[in-house]
């Protein structure tokens, strides 16, 4: 009885793996880049790896949220562009300040900005760019995208395996998309080192609102010493300590 149930579980696991493979999620291998410090977040994805060669949807609110999202994206791009990769940044309303990305490990001179005028052109350029296998990543600033449009991008990405980020600033509505994950990045109060004045390291509330075949969740992520730090219990404690200090002070 016990052995049969075990073999059943085995077959189910194997079938699951097969389905994931068919859906384009490959198990972790040499191809995959681990994003340092984002381990807990990566756990949310199928196979426990950050899905490359897929469309990610990033959501931010307001200019402050956009700043946070820009930083987080910069960190991701830093890993993706690590070996002299080139990134294309397509937008029709760019307010990103390129030099800031250097702090997040993405060399600004290796990012090519296409500042287009019409949203139609942005979509067209994104699709064309995603066909180009030489690009490390493509970031598109697009407020709204329909399901059909996202499916087009998904089909291109499945062939070329380029990682795409659709950055939606203040989206009017959150329609369904084919994106592998929907992230929401919001600024969070920075954590200062005890006894030191001033603003701390960039600190964000990173939410995975939707993950295909994964588990959505929410994490606090800091950028310091050139890498991400996802906050575990010790930092949580620090946060609570800080909150207490604020309450008493």
């Amino acid at each position: 009885m016990n052995t049969t149930s075990k073999s059943k579980a085995d077959t189910i696991a194997k079938l699951r793996e097969k389905i994931l493979l068919m859906q384009g999620f490959k198990p972790a291998g040499a191809m995959h880049k681990r994003i340092t410090g984002l381990m807990p977040v990566e756990q949310a994805f199928p196979n426990q790896v950050f899905p490359l060669g897929a469309v990610h949807e990033m959501i931010s609110e307001g200019p402050e949220g956009a700043a946070a999202c820009g930083g987080f994206l910069g960190g991701l791009l830093g890993t993706l562009m690590a070996d002299a990769g080139i990134c294309l940044w397509i937008s029709n309303s760019r307010s990103l300040f390129p030099p800031a990305l250097e702090l997040f490990g993405a060399s600004p001179h290796r990012i090519i900005f296409a500042d287009l005028q019409r949203e139609k052109d942005v979509l067209w350029a994104t699709e064309e760019a995603l066909k180009c296998e030489g690009l490390a990543a493509v970031v598109t600033e697009l407020n709204n995208i329909t399901f059909a449009q996202s499916r087009r991008l998904q089909l291109v990405v499945e062939k070329s395996h380029v990682t795409a980020f659709i950055w939606r600033k203040d989206p009017v509505y959150l329609s369904n998309t084919t994106a592998v994950a929907r992230w929401k990045i919001a600024p969070a109060p920075s954590i200062s080192e005890p006894g030191l004045p001033g603003v701390g390291f960039p600190h964000w509330q990173v939410e995975l609102l939707k993950v295909r075949n994964g588990i959505p969740g929410s994490w606090e992520v800091t950028w310091s010493e050139g890498r991400f730090h996802t906050h575990d219990e010790t930092v949580r404690k620090l946060v609570s300590v800080r909150n207490d200090v604020q309450k008493t002070g």
Binding site: A67, F97, P187
Partner: protein, 501 residues
């Protein structure tokens, strides 16, 4: 290759043109006159006026005495030359090298062009027919030299307007001396001596001719006979990399245009490859049946001689082409070429840098669709102010000379123009306690700064900026600055300039 030239003669160029603009004048006697030394002199006359005895250089009064109903119009200086040039440009569809022959004619270098029309006779007939259709009186002739063609066009019979290869001497013998494009005093001297026809002096010793008539006659004679090269000044200087595709039937469909572009590119790319050059700027000119021409340009980021890529760039432009009644001639020119870097040639076949090439192709496509100046790449620049601390890279391969500033915090979102805010700042040189931005009050709980950024006095004058990085209670981080020193009671203006990650 045997050179062949075509000379066109418009005996009534301006009057014909005027008739086209004013059809009521067609067939009437009229003339153009100009004021020369206080007298009105007839300069150009219509065919009907010539029939009735009017000649150029008559005074208007004399002409009016001959023909009382003569219409006289003022001559517009320069109009004739412009008209001739426009006709020359129109003739480009027949030959790439067209030169104006001042006053009343055109020269076409038709070497290797006429077979497309099925022989020289058909070529000339087609050209003359199309020029005569709107109403020009025009004669033409084809010969081995421009001089002989000129002579036959003006003095030959219209039935024998094609001089066979090497037969110009035989034809010239029969023509009057004026057919050699000689100056008037020389012609008068020749006729005084009874040398009315070219044949009467063509066989005289050169030394005799030189002594009697000077070098000018010998030169014209040599040019007409083909012993001396004559230089033509082309209306449109042909590009070194140019391909032409005349079409038998006017092309009106997108598919047809695609095929035409493909064929042009095929030959252009072989030409480019033979020269080791790559295309940077291409110009496709399409001549429509109705006389209009459409131009389309493409540009690339790097020299390209790959046919498929160039076609993709043109493909984006095809929907914007309006063929109208049809396109009869395509001309593709490489208006700007550059030497092909040697390593690039192998890239198309795949290799380590193939991905880079793919990216340049992608950028070419984007630039081609959305227009120039939309693709940016930045490198750091040596300036204090954050707005100026970066500049556009000159090329895709430019390496930054400086490193990006890491020691100073810079916001990820920067406002192009700093916006005014209201702040409450308690102590001089301290960050504000709270600020209002877009109707919202932000209470500041953490702050860094100030970082003083001076204005570059060699660029402009004004106050420096004291920047503070602040964080409000919700954890949102801003970049604020105060313009100038703290001024005590007079209030300083504060600005918000960016948002930190």
């Amino acid at each position: 290759m045997q050179k062949r030239y075509l000379s066109l003669w418009f005996p009534y160029l301006m009057p014909d043109w005027y008739c086209m603009r004013r059809p009521d004048l067609r067939g009437t006697a009229f003339a153009f006159a100009n004021l020369i030394r206080g007298r009105k002199i007839v300069t150009m006359i219509s065919a009907a006026a010539a029939d009735r005895g009017i000649a150029a250089k008559m005074t208007v009064a004399d002409a009016r005495a001959l023909v009382p109903d003569l219409g006289v119009f003022d001559e517009q200086p320069g109009r004739e030359a412009r008209l001739l040039k426009a006709l020359g440009r129109w003739c480009i569809r027949y030959s790439p090298l067209v030169a104006t022959d001042p006053a009343d004619g055109l020269f076409l270098d038709i070497s290797g062009c006429s077979h497309l029309w099925g022989g020289e006779a058909a070529y000339l007939n087609d050209l003359l027919k199309r020029l005569r259709a709107p109403g020009y009186t025009v004669y033409g002739a084809i010969a081995d030299t421009p001089g002989a063609a000129w002579a036959v066009a003006r003095f030959g019979t219209p039935d024998h307007n094609i001089v066979k290869n090497g037969a110009q001497a035989k034809v010239l013998v029969e023509l009057p001396a004026a057919a050699l494009r000689l100056e008037k005093p020389l012609l008068e001297r020749l006729s005084k001596l009874g040398l009315a026809k070219i044949g009467s002096f063509i066989n005289m010793p050169r030394s005799v001719l030189r002594r009697r008539f000077g070098e000018g006659l010998l030169e014209r004679l040599a040019q007409a006979l083909g012993q001396q090269q004559e230089y033509l000044d082309p209306v449109v200087i042909p590009e070194p990399f140019q391909e032409r595709l005349p079409c038998l039937e006017p092309i009106r469909t997108a598919a047809g245009i695609e095929i035409a572009i493909k064929r042009l590119l095929e030959s252009l790319c072989t030409q480019l490859a033979a020269e080791g050059a790559g295309l940077r700027k291409g110009l496709l000119t399409m001549f429509r049946v109705d006389g209009k021409s459409i131009r389309t340009t493409i540009g690339t980021n790097q020299p390209v001689q790959h046919q498929g890529h160039l076609f993709k760039l043109f493909e984006l432009k095809i929907p914007a082409i309006a063929p109208g009644m049809g396109i009869e001639l395509f001309i593709l020119e490489a208006t700007r070429t550059e030497k092909m870097p040697i390593h690039l040639e192998t890239l198309w076949k795949g290799g380590t840098a193939a991905e880079d090439a793919e990216i340049t192709l992608l950028l070419d496509r984007i630039a081609c669709r959305v227009g120039p100046g939309r693709i940016h790449r930045y490198v750091p620049d040596e300036h204090f102010w954050p707005e100026r601390s970066l500049r556009l890279a000159a090329s895709l391969t430019e390496k930054p000379e400086l490193s990006w500033p890491l020691h100073r915090p810079r916001p990820t979102q920067l406002l192009t123009v700093p916006e005014k805010i209201e702040v409450t700042a308690p102590i001089p040189d301290y960050p504000p306690m709270l600020f209002r931005y877009q109707g919202k009050t932000h209470e500041i709980c953490k702050a860094d700064g100030p970082e003083r950024i001076e204005r570059e006095w060699w660029l402009d004058h004004g106050e420096h900026r004291d920047y503070y990085q602040v964080e409000d209670r919700e954890g949102r981080r801003y970049w604020l600055f105060r313009s100038g020193h703290y001024k005590g009671d007079s209030r300083n203006q504060w600005f918000i300039h960016g948002f930190f990650a």
